[in-house]
Symmetry: D2
Subunit: 319 residues, 4 copies
């Protein structure tokens, strides 16, 4: 089903060059393919809220998340600054009448459902639009920060449910998804994909996790995902953003060894594409399978952490 | 302009009783007035995205925020787990080709633009729907957690711009906003408010902060805001949620001394109303003043932190 | 070797009562058995530094520690606020000449080598000296805080190496150590234990971890340790403090089921004994076996976190 | 009293060269002047514990500390993972009998009383012993980490109380302390300083803070401190470590403008001297003034955070 691609480093470089968008929206652009979204698309997307149904694609943020500590990524740590126990033992008796609870969190910004900012990945010292890695220091990103997209991730969303298209429960690690299959899946689902759309590609990885009762090596392990060939479909359709239900969006083991996560280099660095990961697409997929409607209003702005290279969010599909 | 209310503790208790919604949506309800939102309202709200314009009401999350440490609330602390400097000095040379940045944050969940969960406030040992404070321990809230609202904060939004209604730049600390003024402001703006709406009430507090160049005592100090009398308008209109541009939504100094933040006790504990704070309404207000359109699709789901008593978010007004 | 104790809840209560020190050093005492240390003992201990040899009993604080998330206890998370990479990419060019690195940590205070404060454990609503649990709220301990001991943990230290005494590499989970064995071990080692001493009891648990190459269930799992019977030896010798190389000091599974960690209730709550855990005693034990000297100057003050219920530290044995 | 030094950049470079210790203890040395401490010195220091008196030089670690956010340095944030309130509301009822409190902290490692590691400062791309800044990445220091000194900071301590020597309550910002004054102060105090000693230099900055009731610009502002001329005394006496009661050890404004904190470049980078800051020397100074004894056993090992560039600690002076 997933053709062996036989990609070489030179092929990847050619893909990067062919679909490179540096300068396309100006030398100072910092949002890449989010520029594809035009106001009329947002208006049209608003009309997709036909049933008044809202489905979140966010995995709950808690200690049951997928992280295993790789690269310092742990699941969110949650703290109570004040709680019901304080009220019970009189620790709030200096306040008149009202009692309260207050909380806090420590979390890697890419520990759960997340957008990668265009400042998340570098190749040969550069990130999207040619900005150098010297723009991302210990105090954050001076270019391509996630906060710049806070008002930009609204439009038409489309779910492509690859396991249902293939007739399987989920894709297995190593299963790649290419341009032809993306097109075929859309066609089978009876949905058009076009300029400015946000495309959610389901691999079923979370269904597999739930069936097995463990995250296993979901994080940083082998995984199904988009392969390098998918670049053609992604770029020729001029989609605005792309998200999957896996840790790293692209198929693993990677198709070449010279670059870790080569599709990130193509899509984030060269194309300037907004990429989402660890989206929980199970509920949405069940719903789409039920009503046959694979398009929706998609509202998925990140939290505007100034200069961040990623962000948690609550992506909503509204049908 | 703001009539002296002369509220007594007994009056507040009477308000609580009059508008109490415990049991209204079942003994196990945990989302309160969000139940007012019906699917057709969401569909209708989708049609408000007429211009394809998206405006965020989120204050950036960074060290320039309003917090001063009150109750442990500090501004977000931001960390890089990996950054461009690591790539520069070879600390990522174990990875093939790709280089990356990764980040993390520590933040009180109510340190910036935020929803209060219905588990945020107790009165006489109870929170909304009669759940006891023993449900909120050091590991979070077993009832009324913010995650339960992740798919519930979508609908029609209305901005009420009180300073423009009054003809001032901003309201001053101590300026209360009551039911009559809320109704008059809506009428002057030519906008209807009704069941299931999300109402954003601008006091201009952030305009004042920016004009003065300092947060001053924005957090926990005296402030303009809704007064106890506003309860009538809020509840009789059956709005789903309410947010303001201040630290604590209600007027301060408080109208009675026997309860700190008495309107919180009325609205959060008794009414079960979703309350938002530290919303940045300046850009939205300018836009509404410009086009005369004060209604919009409002999409403002919290991050689903399991069992949290509040959440940061990126509230979007889509016109 | 470890006699079955056959302890009942009533027996534990009797132990608590027999050795209870509440009021012994005044109704407002907050340091318990640290009161045993008298100035002349410190002077005498100073004379034990005969070889000028310093051995740390601290496990390094890092991600390789024993924690598994139990009760929110994770291994320390370490952050760089500034680092060499920042210097390399010019992020410090606003500073003249000097470049620097700066770091930060998040850590549960009992995630590694640690002292338990006397505010760490309650029984029937009370901690040491009868202070109620209402003294320990979300902002810390108003009584029995660890900071009160900052100058109190200096004196004579004695290592009791139980595995060498038994002729094994390490004790196994479930192996309890009682009064008779503690006395016999001291005698065989040729060392006297007395009033005001700090006693380090080695079970070899860390040797076992290293031999096996994994922490396994070192944290919160079954473990060797002191049993309830050890109370007699501990209290009759009037030692000032006690530390072991295990997660929880006492033998697990616990000897009774009615109280989790019953020896903590006896020693921390009733006796007021300073208890240390996760001490790394391997290097010290090797050294003592080598020179036959099991006594030393022991300097092990906690960090003075105000109102904390425990603290990391760098305990030093100076011979 | 403090002679104008008239230092130029070339003078500083000359100082660096004159007292440079790179290679002195081998090309792979990572502890610098701590090598001056020899076993017999530790034994002799043990004999200084004549009165059995222990004095901590640690400022309490809490929200009342000196930090103002400079460079991300905030005062410690303290969290309860479990507390008495949880016990009170039944949140620990799954445990048999025992109830407990547990806590955690987030803190910059140099937010309070601290040792600078030799990896804390770079000059011209190098730290002590010629190691390049590429050794200090977002995961910590591969060379000159603080953990390497865990067993090395024990020896003879000497307090030099400059304000008492000058007959003032405290030194003012800008007041520098040079070699001649250090020697004169020691002589007046009747104390010898020599090889392997740890010298604590009091400026009275904390007395000034307490008298004024505010930290003011204690952190990163102007301050009294050692001047560049002090290098001669420090190095010719071959002391092992040096600590002061100020934020940054050296006099500020700095004596030259071409290097921020030039004495750090001399002492940390070139000499390899262990430098401590924010030591609270008030209690110790009062005690020394009282008994006329300015020497003591000094035990001040850092916490062994692996690869850290600094560490909090509880430095103890034992007399």
């Amino acid at each position: 089903m997933t053709a062996v691609q036989g990609y070489t480093l030179a092929d990847v470089h050619a893909l990067c060059e062919r679909y490179n968008n540096w300068g396309r929206w100006g030398d100072d652009d910092q949002i890449g393919t989010l520029n594809h979204v035009e106001p009329h698309m947002i208006t049209a997307a608003g009309a997709l809220a036909k049933q008044g149904k809202v489905i979140s694609c966010a995995l709950p943020y808690d200690q049951n998340g997928p992280q295993n500590g790789w690269g310092g990524r742990v699941n969110p740590l949650y703290f109570m600054l004040q709680d019901g126990g304080d009220a019970a033992i009189g620790a709030q008796d200096h306040m008149a009448g009202l009692r309260y609870a207050d909380d806090a969190v420590y979390m890697p910004l890419q520990s759960g459902t997340q957008w990668d900012a265009l400042s998340h990945v570098f190749y040969e010292g550069k990130m999207y639009n040619g900005y150098g890695l010297e723009n991302v220091s210990s105090t954050g990103a001076k270019r391509n920060g996630i906060h710049l997209t806070a008002e930009k991730v609204v439009g038409r969303g489309v779910l492509l449910d690859i396991p249902r298209h293939r007739g399987v429960d989920w894709l297995e690690p190593g299963d790649g998804i290419g341009s032809e299959e993306l097109a075929a899946c859309a066609e089978r689902q009876g949905v058009r994909v076009g300029k400015g759309d946000f495309v959610l590609v389901r691999t079923g990885a979370m269904a597999a996790v739930r069936a097995k009762g463990t995250w296993g090596d979901y994080s940083a392990g082998d995984a199904p995902g988009l392969n390098l060939d998918s670049t053609h479909w992604v770029c020729e359709n001029e989609i605005a953003g792309l998200a999957t239900d896996t840790w790293g969006m692209e198929v693993r083991p990677n198709e070449i060894t010279e670059i870790f996560q080569p599709l990130h280099v193509v899509l984030l660095v060269n194309v300037g594409l907004m990429v989402g990961e660890i989206f929980d697409l199970e509920k949405l997929a069940d719903d789409c399978a039920g009503d046959g409607v694979y398009e929706f209003l998609f509202v998925a702005g990140p939290l505007p952490f100034t200069g961040a290279v990623g962000s948690p969010l609550n992506p909503l599909a509204i049908k």
